[in-house]
Point group: C2
């Protein structure tokens, strides 16, 4: 009896689908199918424990090889053959398989067990010498490259040379003798370049292949992929050892992939491809055109019926759409892989609703099957699927959207062309902070290097620009203002391209863009029953609305935005920023206020602003009639309404300035702040110039009175920004109370409430005190994130965020998704303390996190009353609020 | 029997000194002296409860007048006279007296009880008709003005007219008949201007006088005073009604003030002034020169002996230096007031030690009797007390120090003159943010308006400039560049003045400044036994050092500062800022680093900095040998080492720039940040450019190895700034560990530790995680205050802090004294969470709050291990740390 430190190897029959941690995704699902009695070739799994032990020490852990030996014996008994037995050899495939799928990243070795002797046995038992020598040739090639690190092109060149010699072009034109000769060439190549001969011992082949799979976990490309996909580096891979079956044994053989439903559209009915007389890698290699799966019914009705039965079993068992790989060897169907299938957002919505209709899953599960991110993807305009497309390259979809424009290769050109009205796409090898202006000016950004945490990706997502990054087949030549492709095509500055930020595709020319069906449904221009996707989304949204506890409001500063938000399902406005109402022609009035030399001039400027503000508020209250409208009093520092100090200084110094500029420069200098984010803004400004907040409060209350008199149901909520102390709030409330008394005297009582942003750490920590003077809280998680981390989004997103993501300090930008650990703790403390003082305190959030799925789940958990987000995120928030509640 | 709602009136015999809340300071101490059996004229106190009830309703509360009646009857019985009785009238003084002394702010009415009848009785019983009519005249004047609001100048003019008529100059030259005539004139003035006659009913006089005292609580000047002194507005004043005694009854009468010790120097032995044949207000008015108290022994040995006995009783009873007011009426001594006396900082130290020596108080009490602020005052250079001084005016001492310079009246001149090497004093009516540059350029600031929370005061304290504000007798004429005084003197631009920021005094010309005795003692140039003050301070510091639990370190960036701090008692360096080592000639190397186009050039720049840094650290470690030296790796953003963007842009645009400037402008633009405080700095910079921190770590460890090899005891602690996440710390620790391995290989092991600043709210909230990677914490309360409140000191102190102080949002700037409620909560959370992970975590504070007395008590309470502050604050911190422990 052998003493063991740990158990490392499991037969398929010992595992199940929930053991992905231990057996990897592939191994666990093979085990599950084995347990279901489906036709899986026998085999066993070397667990991730073994891989981790190997990674720690650099050698197979004690006991592993003995365990493999035991399981191999069981396998041999099952198959009635022995590994590499000369007469009738058992051959195995050695495959990688980690917990999370890493397609194409790790290694596989097929046909392990063949050697100079057993190749003859395989020829004899199969009656097909060509097949046997071809299989051996493939093993030598794969083993030589993967295990012994011989450059794969050496094998390719030898094969090409042989074909030239024989005067043929296709591999299939080589006969058994040719291939036998090729094996000799291959073995010689290995001898020369690996510094050792190809191992004839089948067990040595197996062990070396296992080591090679372990090693492939830590190749550069695998590490890079994991970093981009946020897969931990310490998981390791399992190794599946499975008896070989052959789809390349003639007319009765073949191989295929299939989905239990259409993964692109979600349409019901199986969907797949079949290739006769071929092995799996031939499908991937695209050597011959595949047949639609339906053709198998004609070719091999028995196998087809069996496959249909199995797919139904799998879908009923997994209760989800599955994808499978299968092989038919001389009329016998074998299942080689299954898993829950990846799908497009459209398919996700449609499949979930179909499965619900079929009784496979319930309403809650249907809701769990779709995500807000998928809905958001569906709301972007997309390239018209019917239109012709000329695919140039595929990179990573780093920031979604469909952008069309002329290529430019530097920021200055991007800015210059954009200013003259051109749509441009900025193309770079990679971006850095110097490219910021160019990125702002562009419709989209395309890079040839870098992943989802690269500078380009992070900044583009931050500013909502479409971005494709890491399109490695692009050779970008900035100096020559062009990029070239491997096929020799060249795209020059000014040429139009189209990039898809969801799929990562890059097309030549302008691909027509079409509106989202889902947006047309929300906007009311398309009825749900008229479109399968719209109808699935509509049903999903209804369910989400039924079950969610969180209300959803919108951030909207104009009547148009308010109306759109309402169509998208917003139940009020959570943030109406009043500073946006001081731009354009009104900027002059703000300037008048700033340069006012005395109280009288200040009051005159404010008096001129009052009717404009009143009109603004009346229209917004009308658009949101019957719903609460939270109006934030002016927040930014006044100098934001003046010209930039440096620009104006240069203008004055170079004599290009007029009298007005020169006078203004004094005020710009006076108001200049080193750190405007931390300066005279928000409630501080309101206390220093009480007339400003008083004017705004008066405009709000008069607008409410106007709406009320017009028969409306105005529900204004006045929100004070940047409060750190309850005393600040007290001071402002006194100002508002005075205004309210005056308006009441003129127009009769108007209903309104006064609350505060919680956006400074101090406000969160002292929320119990602040709640004494606030009827509602709204967490401003943008500013709260800035203050809690001590960085400003404008300054840091382009400077060090990509480095931080690469170093794993963030797994996502805290401006995209709430930092629940740090900032979230303050949100929790603020909510709890606020409600301790005022149990009926209404609490919401109005940062951009209000539209972020992960953050919404957190806000639900903390017990907020509502989230508020941009109009286009309102449906996303409704859906995620529903999912959070289930 | 009368039903009462509350009790409002107390006889002196019913109260004691601990009832200042109820009886006011004056009333409580009169009660105490009464209980001690000292000769206090009988009387009673109308409590602050009555005042508050009056303030709430605007009328005397129910029952008050009846209670006053009862107590008045008791008083009349004791005195054997009735109030205003025609034959032998009882007269009373009606005096204000709040919990906190508000000298000169509220009202007093003497001689209440005199009327047209009783004045004759007073003349008869006193045998002094002139005295009687003078007393009546005084009552009419005081009552007319205080109670009936008649302009006091009308009485003054009438008196002057009478003196002119009689051809005399002094009041004392008027005889009884003159004064009797004057009372008629005064009554006519009252009839005409008060719209009612002077009340002849003595009880009506008393009630109206009481109301007038209540009202005087809320005069504008009283409210202003309270705001400046941070006295709550809702306390109210008590009213003391006390039988009149008269020091103006001839040769055997007089009045005086005395201290049981010298309040200026703390010297032992009584100290005071005496004025024969006078009343208290005559002493204040300074009509005649007072005599030294010692002369009383000659004039009235019995009263003198009694006074000496009483002063001893009081000091033994109060166990502190007392000040008293007394009156002798015809050889009978009466005590009219006592309280614990105000004293100079010097006196505070000496008196505390003397009383300890005399066994009156114990060591802990002696420590409680002095404050760090007093010690700080003693450490400022002061105007030479022996030198001649020409006092021009007295304002408020708003920011301590002694400044001498030429007057300038605008910021531009201040800057221009300072640049050419002149010391200037900026004189303004008041300052505003536009004056900031001028304030920075000046040695001191003098304003004619505004109190301790005015812009000038707040900003001057923030920047450590000497400031006197609210010197109201200055008439500042900015346009004419001069100020004039009430006596007609004029000071013009360029004239030299001297201002004392502790006393608020303004002197003409240059008053010589002398070093502080206390600093000379700390510096070692004066031995404690050679000076009374130094010896008292030395003994006090010894005791504080014995009992304190908090260690005290210094913030020091140079060997000189480190050595000074050590002489001042620092037990290590809590913050050595390395960025200061990159200034001067080394700035070019930093520029090289910034403009480096590749890694090689960057490394070359770092390599050039390494030996310089190594030398810096060697010297500082030497100066603090045997004590810990916490070195903070570079914190500010790199662009701080480059020219200002606006200035450089103007220079380039106007063609004044050379090639170097033009090249640099690109880098300045690239690194420019909207909010540098929230930008690429601290650990972020260290992660983006790992070579920077690595170079510094190497320099520190090599310096430690050098010191060790030289026989020293170096104790470096490496501190990482601006950490928000433990992962940042992990990344940097790996860099440092690599460097340490290399240094160990070269030089053998070096002892050091790695810790972090806690200066971001996130770090405080997640201190448990951060402590996993930090061996020590140092709270950076400056940045923590900025982030918690969301404002930057540079930007806001000059813009809205004075408004905030005026509005009571702060009671002191949170940069001067820790905001214990908000920022303090994060300090507490950070400390508790940090120690939860690592019980032996060493925790200190290195913001400027480390030298602030109130903050030190908080840090002691929270359980920090040490505070670190500027070298000059080290003694203050030692003293307050001792006081906090007792």
């Amino acid at each position: 009896m052998i003493e063991r430190m740990a158990r490392f190897v499991y037969d398929f029959a010992e595992g199940d689908k929930d053991q992905k941690d231990l057996l990897g995704g592939k191994g666990a699902n093979l085990a599950e199918m084995t347990r279901l009695g489906l036709p899986v070739p026998p085999g066993f799994v070397i667990s991730t424990d073994a891989c981790r032990a190997y990674m720690a020490t650099g050698r197979h852990p004690d006991g592993l090889d003995a365990e493999v030996g035991e399981h191999l014996r069981t396998l041999e008994e099952t198959m009635g053959k022995r590994l590499g037995q000369p007469e009738d050899p058992l051959l195995v495939a050695v495959r990688s398989g980690a917990k999370f799928s890493m397609p194409g990243m790790m290694e596989t070795v097929l046909n392990v067990g063949l050697n100079d002797d057993s190749v003859h046995g395989l020829a004899a038992t199969s009656g097909d010498a060509r097949f046997a020598w071809d299989s051996y040739r493939r093993l030598l090639q794969m083993f030589g490259n993967t295990v012994l690190h011989v450059d794969s092109s050496l094998f390719g060149e030898a094969l090409d040379a042989l074909k030239d010699e024989r005067g043929v072009t296709a591999d299939t034109d080589l006969d058994a003798a040719d291939l036998e000769a090729l094996t000799s060439t291959y073995k010689a190549i290995i001898d020369e370049h690996a510094g050792r001969p190809f191992p004839q011992d089948p067990r040595e082949q197996l062990d070396l292949a296992t080591t090679a799979v372990f090693d492939s976990w830590n190749t550069d490309r695998a590490r890079l992929y994991r970093r981009q996909e946020r897969i931990p580096d310490d998981l390791g891979t399992a190794v599946t050892v499975i008896a070989m079956v052959f789809g390349n044994r003639g007319a009765g053989s073949g191989t295929g992939v299939a989905f239990t439903r259409d993964p692109a559209t979600g349409a019901q009915g199986v969907y797949g491809d079949y290739l006769e007389n071929a092995q799996g890698e031939d499908v991937v290699a695209g050597i011959r055109n595949t047949l639609p799966l339906a053709d198998l019914e004609r070719i091999d009705p028995a196998s087809y019926a069996e496959l249909m039965r199995i797919m139904e079993v799998l879908e009923k068992h997994y209760l989800d759409m599955c994808d499978i790989e299968f092989t038919i060897e001389r009329g016998k169907l074998w299942m080689l892989q299954t898993r829950v299938g990846k799908r497009t957002p459209e398919a996700a919505f449609r499949i979930a609703r179909h499965m619900l209709g079929e009784g496979l899953i319930d309403e809650d599960e249907a809701l769990r099957r779709v995500t807000g991110e998928q809905l958001a993807q569906l709301m972007f305009p997309r390239f018209d699927s019917e239109a012709e497309r000329d695919l140039l390259a595929t990179g990573m979809g780093a920031s979604p959207g469909a952008a069309v424009g002329r290529c430019v290769f530097d920021s200055a050109t991007a800015v210059a062309w954009a200013e003259r009205g051109e749509d441009v796409i900025l193309v770079r090898k990679e971006t850095n902070p110097d490219d910021l202006h160019g990125m702002v000016a562009s419709r989209g950004i395309l890079t040839s290097r870098g992943g989802k945490t690269s500078h380009a990706a992070v900044v583009a997502r931050g500013m909502g620009r479409t971005c494709v990054c890491g399109a490695e087949s692009l050779d970008v030549d900035v100096a020559a203002r062009k990029f070239s492709l491997r096929d020799g095509r060249v795209v020059e500055e000014g040429d139009v391209i189209s990039i898809d930020g969801s799929t990562g595709e890059v097309f030549a020319g302008a691909v027509p863009v079409s509106d989202s069906v889902v947006v047309r449904y929300f906007e009311g221009s398309l009825k749900a029953p008229d479109d399968a996707l719209a109808s699935a989304v509509a049903a999903t949204m209804d369910r989400a609305d039924d079950v969610r506890r969180l209300r959803v409001r919108a951030n909207a500063d104009t009547p148009e935005d308010a109306a759109r938000a309402r169509r998208f399902g917003a139940e009020g406005i959570g943030l109406c920023r009043t500073e946006h109402m001081f731009l354009g022609e009104r900027r002059q009035l703000v300037e008048d206020l700033i340069v006012a030399s005395d109280t009288e001039a200040q009051e005159a400027a404010l008096a001129a602003l009052l009717p404009l503000q009143r009109q603004d508020f009346t229209e917004i209250l009308e658009a949101m009639d019957g719903f609460p409208v939270t109006i934030r009093l002016i927040d930014p520092p006044l100098h934001e309404f003046l010209p930039d100090l440096t620009e104006l200084s240069v203008k004055v110094a170079t004599g290009q300035a007029d009298e007005h500029d020169r006078a203004l420069l004094d005020h710009v200098r006076r108001l200049h702040e080193q750190n405007p984010m931390l300066g005279l803004r928000g409630v501080r400004l309101g206390i220093l110039i009480p007339g400003l907040f008083a004017m705004q409060a008066r405009a709000i209350l008069l607008a409410a009175a106007d709406r009320r008199d017009a028969g409306g149901d105005p529900r204004p909520e006045i929100m004070i920004p940047l409060v750190a102390s309850v005393r600040e709030l007290d001071v402002v409330r006194r100002t508002i109370a005075t205004v309210a008394d005056e308006v009441t005297a003129e127009r009769g009582p108007v209903e309104f409430s006064v609350g505060t942003m919680i956006e400074l750490p101090r406000a969160a920590v002292l929320a119990d005190r602040i709640a004494q003077s606030a009827e509602f809280f709204s967490f401003g998680t943008n500013d709260l994130t800035q203050m809690t981390w001590g960085f400003s989004r404008d300054d840091v997103e382009s400077s060090f965020f990509s480095t931080y993501l690469d170093n794993g300090i963030f797994d996502v930008s805290p401006f995209e998704s709430l930092d629940t650990l740090g900032v979230g703790t303050l949100v929790r403390i603020g909510t709890e303390k606020g409600r301790a003082t005022r149990p009926d305190l209404h609490v919401g959030v109005c940062g951009e996190h209000g539209g972020d799925p992960r953050s919404i789940h957190f806000f639900h958990g903390v017990g907020l009353d509502y989230v508020s987000c941009s109009p286009y995120r309102v449906p996303v928030a409704r859906l995620e609020a529903g999912r959070a509640a289930r």
